[in-house]
Amino acid sequence: MNAEELKHKVTELCPRATYDETGEFLTTLIAAPDLLPVMQQLAKDNELHFDFLFCLTCIDWKDHFMMVYHLRSTDLNHCLVVKAKITDTTNPEIESVNDIWRTAEFHEDEVYDMFGVKFLNHPNLRRLFLEADWNGFPLRKNYTDENMIKL
Amino acid sequence: MFLKNYIGDIFSSIKSLLTGMKLTGYYFTHLKEIVTEEYPDNRGTLKMAERFRGEVIMPHNENNEHRCTGCQACELACPNASIKIVTKQETQPDGKKKKRIDTFVYRLDMCTFCNLCVNACPSEAIVMGQKFEHSVYDKKQLKKILNFPNSKLMEGVEE
């Protein structure tokens, strides 16, 4: 399925989605509350069948967090990037997608560890890399640490 | 049928095991196949590859002259700040003042041998050296000054 068809199909699922076609993959921006139902449809729909979540990450844009999901369909071989904006920077929360793609469990743990984004309905949300009592979230732009070295 | 499979299994297993033993037995009896390098003993003949990245060095010629202009391109290129160049103003014979290096500090303990400094150098003043035995008893000894005492900039480099 090419970008136009994908766009058409995703618009059916989520009319409020906006698109960006500058990158290699079609990028669609949806609101955080819509995320879980849209993702479920994306994975389940026979024409889309995005069964492979190959990258899940988060970007700190200072005034908001942007969750980025890179999806691919292994049999239909098309890709889609889904972005979801989290506007609450003090207590960011979003639905977990680990029911749809099991790999999301670890990736969401990592995002929680590094950005402090809380994933609702996550089975075992924990600090994956850092100690459980670590202060702050290192990949946030406003993170400071007394041991940080500025080159 | 069961018995046939059973005995067949045993014989094929034993055969596969003997094949492996034949190989190890071959090497046990062919000692010239040994590939061990006796490292500290072969120091005399050991030759590192010419591009081997052992450390950053600054070659000086016989007149104690180097090619470093102090442009600090390497310092900027270094990803982990292992190079620090201290410059000074030096009066030339014709009376002009020019920037020259005072000390070229290279911290081997922070270097990752990525070669970016050598790549960045416009005047080929620093190269990668072949020495690889860097162990010392005190970490401070790994902080090196690459330009020799009283060394000068080579003529004609700075154009």
């Binding site: 492979f52 970007i59 890179h70 994956l128 100690e131 080159l151 | 492996g20 990803p79």
Partner: protein, 372 residues
């Protein structure tokens, strides 16, 4: 990690902590294993023992500098990591490496893949208790490392790739030595079959052990040989060719077994495929520059770049978010081992402790790539 007391064990269970200092975890991986006798009931990986925050470091390094850091992630496919980063930067600059540089990159990449698979083969034997195969594999690996050292200057963490091409031209002896290597490798390959592949003890340790179905492998995000052994076509070299892989003839090895034995066979077949690629390319390196002209200070346009590369362990994704400055705004590495690790608790459920060694050996984890 503290858990509530009632979560810890059930009747008859006990926990062992495998790692962070354990001979079979190949680094500082810590697995918390719930055991019932010798049977594994649950595994919880505890990570972060070698977390260096490479993603945060990359945010303060320039686009030329950040390539070198990635050698330290999956140090066994350091070259491919560098390649992924360089390709991402090139994509952002909308330039392409010169044909000669591309050929050199592919050659070095396949050599690295070969050396990585050899190390995997060696350590698989070692994990299952056979010590001798290790040395046979390292004999060939030594030859490869010497070739890499001669051209790149370093043996493991090469950092030979710069945006637009490679750092230097190949060493004059390179072609001859690679040909010798191919000859040596093909002559010695039967030893690998004799000592390990054909061995009945070894086969019994792998066959039917650590099964993962195709659906589960997709869901857990497995890539590389681990996924291809479950029947997923996921070779980025075929899927989204880069650096001229589309012009080369090689097969994507796909098996449907899904167990340790299938993973083992996929990797063994990939060794042969890598040799084929080397053979095709070694005499056909295009003449020309090895480095395309780039600006001294690399700046990317605002936007996202995602570049995928097939490393020895699977799909490495480099996701760069640029805000137009000289350093990445955000840099995410989608490492193959991280996703493959997440499948291990699922694969190993119900296996014996001895099987866990076979599973970890054939999934082939490199811990620094997980922690980053």
């Amino acid at each position: 990690m503290l858990l509530a007391p009632d979560h810890i064990t059930e009747e008859g269970e006990f926990i062992i902590n495998m790692g962070p200092q354990h001979p079979a975890t190949h680094g500082v991986l810590h697995l918390k294993i719930w055991l019932d006798g010798e049977t594994i009931k649950k595994i919880e990986p505890q990570l972060g023992y070698i977390h260096r925050s490479i993603e945060k470091m990359c945010e303060s390094l320039s686009y030329r500098q950040f390539i070198y850091v990635t050698s330290r992630m999956d140090y066994l496919s350091a070259h491919m990591n560098n390649q992924a980063c360089a390709l991402a930067v090139e994509k952002g600059l909308q330039i392409e490496a010169t044909p000669r540089a591309q050929a050199i990159r592919v050659l070095l990449g396949e050599l690295t893949r070969l050396s990585s698979h050899l190390l995997w083969w060696a350590s698989t034997g070692l994990d299952l208790g056979g010590i001798t195969p290790f040395f046979y594999a390292f004999r060939e690996r030594e030859t490869i490392n010497t070739i890499l050292e001669e051209t790149c200057g370093t043996r493991l963490t090469q950092n030979f790739i710069v945006p637009g091409g490679v750092m230097y031209d190949i060493h004059p002896d390179f072609q001859k030595k690679v040909k010798d290597l191919i000859k040596q490798f093909r002559a010695n390959y039967h030893e690998y079959d004799e000592i390990l592949t054909g061995n009945v003890i070894f086969q019994n340790r792998l066959k039917g052990v650590g099964y993962i179905s195709k659906e589960d492998a997709i869901s857990y995000g497995c890539t590389g040989p681990t996924a291809r052994a479950s029947g997923i076509s996921c070779d980025i070299r075929k899927l989204a060719p880069y650096d001229g892989y589309d012009k080369l003839k090689f097969d994507e090895v796909i098996l449907s077994g899904g167990d340790c034995w299938a993973r083992y066979q996929v990797r063994m077949a990939e060794i042969i495929q890598s040799l084929n690629i080397l053979e095709q390319l070694i005499d056909n390196i295009p003449e020309g520059d090895f480095l395309a002209k780039t600006k001294n200070v690399v700046k990317l346009n605002k936007g996202d770049i995602y570049q995928r590369v097939e490393t020895a362990r699977g799909e490495l994704g480099v996701y760069i978010v640029s805000d137009g400055a000289a350093t990445p705004y955000r840099c995410k590495f989608r490492s193959p081992n991280f996703s493959n690790l997440s499948a291990i608790p699922h694969i190993a459920k119900g296996a014996k402790i001895g099987d866990l060694m076979a599973i970890m050996a054939t999934v082939d984890l490199v811990i620094p790539d997980i922690d980053r």
